[in-house]
């Protein structure tokens, strides 16, 4: 399958197969006017399958969110057809307003102006906990 190479924009590569749509939704890429391509189940030598997102514009990205959903993703910035920057996603130490606490007894449920902040408590198992009630993120 061929998708045209982009001239100016961003390619998020090495997204775990199946996570591309969720990343698309959480990055709010549906709100963009430019072309956005999601390639599902592309061939990957390393993992067998992967998802890829191509964005035909250089937009600000929430790298914490990418790191949370796709910690091994590569973010390629392309200008005039040339790869000018390659960044590795990393598992962020804290997540602010990326996910919400599901604990009905958490203070964030009644005081909804509070930031939803999660801290990485177990990098090996990728476990984040709400800083307020310490409930594990799903």
């Amino acid at each position: 399958m061929n998708i045209d190479a982009i001239q100016n924009g961003i390619v998020i590569d090495h997204i775990p197969a199946g996570a591309g749509m969720e990343l698309y939704r959480m990055l709010r890429l549906d709100a963009l006017d430019c072309s956005v391509a999601i390639i599902k189940n592309a061939h990957s030598n390393k993992d067998g399958k992967k998802d890829i997102i191509k964005i035909d514009a250089e937009i600000p990205l929430n790298f914490d969110l990418i790191g949370y959903l796709a910690p091994h993703a590569k973010i390629n910035i392309i200008r005039e057809g040339i790869l000018v920057e390659k960044r590795d996603a990393t598992l962020p130490k804290t997540l602010t307003n990326v996910i919400s606490c599901k604990n009905p007894r958490c203070i964030t449920k009644t005081e909804q102006e509070l930031d939803q902040v999660f801290r990485l408590t177990d990098p090996e198992r990728r476990i984040y906990r709400c800083i307020y009630c310490e409930t594990k993120a799903n």
Partner: protein
């Protein structure tokens, strides 16, 4: 601003320092009678807790300070919809230190993030209750003289019991502490507490449903109440509430110097007949709680003044 939200906010050396201060208060209370003169403690209790609130108030009064506050949400601005953050900012203008109890988990951290004076978590829902753990620790220290090389049995609701999680977190920082976790299957200690507090430190633990089986090996027996307020399903509460009842008969196989603790209030999990047993330390624990709160108030006010 230095606050106490979780028992792990205190290092082992700070805990030792608090215990030293508390023991000195016990030895010579007059020395401390004016140490908080002209200082005000605000007790912000959004849910009733007679014992904890009165313990904080007694602690501040014995230090020569005074107390302002409320004892239920309906008599505070929360009834008008004021946020915890705003209340913390407002109270910072009136008082020198806050002790707060609130039914929502994480509320104490929100208060601490917004107050300009020290905040002590006096219980935030099912999350943390660090000053109860301070009371537990002083009692263990006064009865046993150490925190290491102990076999600690914890019995009852290990799933929802916030005092249990805090005590395990605090004791797992000491050498050769062995935990015996006694609970019904449904109320077992959550795996993250086991992993993060016990296994990571390489400490030994044993899980059992039998209090009788565990009894002979224990240096400390920490009993807890099966808390009705933590259950959404009343049938499940009724089924589990009488799982463990400590009686003089069950204590026959216990060590002579075993120490029985309970964060109180009890319902029926310790028979009143046990109260006469010299191993029953739960009322001493209440008094120790006041001394540790005195030591804590002193420490936080002293650090705030620097």
């Amino acid at each position: 601003m230095r606050c106490l939200i979780d028992i792990l906010d205190l290092s082992v050396s700070e805990l030792d320092e608090l215990i030293r201060t508390a023991c000195d208060i016990i030895r010579d209370p007059d020395k401390y009678a004016d140490r908080c003169k002209r200082k005000k403690l605000a007790t912000l209790f959004y849910e009733p807790s007679t014992r904890t609130r009165l313990s904080f108030e007694a602690a501040m009064l014995e230090l020569g300070g005074s107390v302002i506050g409320f004892s239920e949400a309906t008599s505070s601005s929360a009834a008008k919809g004021e946020s915890v953050a705003d209340t913390a900012k407002v109270i910072s203008c009136y008082a020198d230190i806050i002790a707060m109890r609130h039914p929502k988990e994480g509320s104490a951290l929100v208060a601490a993030n917004n107050a300009t004076i020290p905040v002590i978590n006096a219980g935030d829902g099912g999350h943390c209750h660090p000053t109860q753990t301070l009371a537990d620790l002083l009692t263990i220290y006064r009865e046993k003289g150490r925190f290491d090389h102990l076999t600690v049995g914890i019995c009852g609701d290990l799933k929802f019991g916030r005092t249990v999680h805090s005590l395990i977190n605090a004791l797992s920082r000491y050498e050769d502490v062995r935990f015996v976790l006694i609970s019904p299957e449904e109320l077992k200690l959550p795996s993250y507490v086991k992993t993060e507090a016990i296994k990571k430190k390489g400490l030994e633990y044993l899980q059992t449903t039998s209090l009788e089986e565990a009894m002979p090996m224990l240096d400390i027996l920490y009993m807890t109440r099966i808390q009705q307020e933590r259950f959404a399903d009343m049938d499940e509460y009724l089924r589990l509430k009488d799982s463990y009842v400590l009686t003089p008969e069950k204590l026959k196989t216990a060590k002579e110097d075993m120490c029985i603790l309970h964060p109180l209030p009890r319902v029926n999990e310790i028979s009143v007949k046990v109260d006469q047993d010299p191993r029953a330390c739960y009322f001493k624990q209440v008094l120790n709680g006041k001394y540790m709160r005195m030591a804590l108030i002193l420490k936080l006010l002293e650090e705030a003044g620097k």
